[in-house]
């Protein structure tokens, strides 16, 4: 059972590293430009996974305060809130800051993806192929 606890406490970090390396591998070693762009997308989302994992908190709920009428016998968070906003306990809510940062990172990711695809279309118009080795051959010939 020891391995299992380690796995649970580390799985997200390992997964982000694997994804990051998959993306980096595609960006460095792949030959096709669109494959590289796909790799870039994976590479960026890996970092997002890492940040969201930082923000996770055991036994806490989503970062939206319970508001409005409170049901009878709700969870811990609800009970704390029954006495007004002063009773909000930080332990009961997931850390919102990494989520905010990652909204920005996702948007940056899609912006980069758009520009990269635009460039890839231009490259294809110029050389008629997306394979880097074929483009290099064409450049060497003239």
């Amino acid at each position: 059972m020891d391995f299992l606890t380690v796995l649970i406490s580390r799985a997200n970090y390992w997964a982000y590293i694997i994804l990051m390396m998959v993306g980096l591998y595609a960006m460095i070693a792949k030959n096709n430009l669109v494959k590289k762009i796909v790799g870039m997308s994976i590479f960026q989302t890996a970092v997002i996974l890492f940040y969201v994992s930082i923000g996770a908190k055991q036994g806490a709920t989503i970062p939206i305060l319970r508001h409005g009428p409170v049901p009878e016998g709700g969870g811990i968070a609800h009970a704390a809130l029954r006495h007004g906003t002063d009773a909000v306990q930080a332990v009961n809510y997931i850390n919102p800051l990494p989520h905010v940062l990652m909204l920005t990172a996702i948007v940056v990711g899609v912006a980069t993806l758009g520009v990269a695809l635009a460039l890839a279309i231009k490259v294809y118009k110029e050389y008629g192929t997306l394979e880097e080795n074929e483009i290099n051959q064409r450049l060497r010939r003239g």
Partner: protein, 81 residues
Amino acid sequence: MIWQLDLIILVLVIVCAIAAINVKDLLSAAILLGAYSFLLCLLWAIMGAVDVAFTEATVGAGVSTVFCVSAVFHTTRRTTD
């Protein structure tokens, strides 16, 4: 958070990522990237990052895939790796 679900989705995410960069067809790669984004969105939803999951579902799985498909449509599906 249910850790069994977490692990299963993590494995699926990695499988999707590896498939997306290894498949021999760029259109499939674009679709697999969409699937990858959608699985990540599920992962974030069960980790409690609802806003991030929502954004990833709309931006990553939705619009990015459309962009990729339209770029592939104007270039080529062919790839050697």
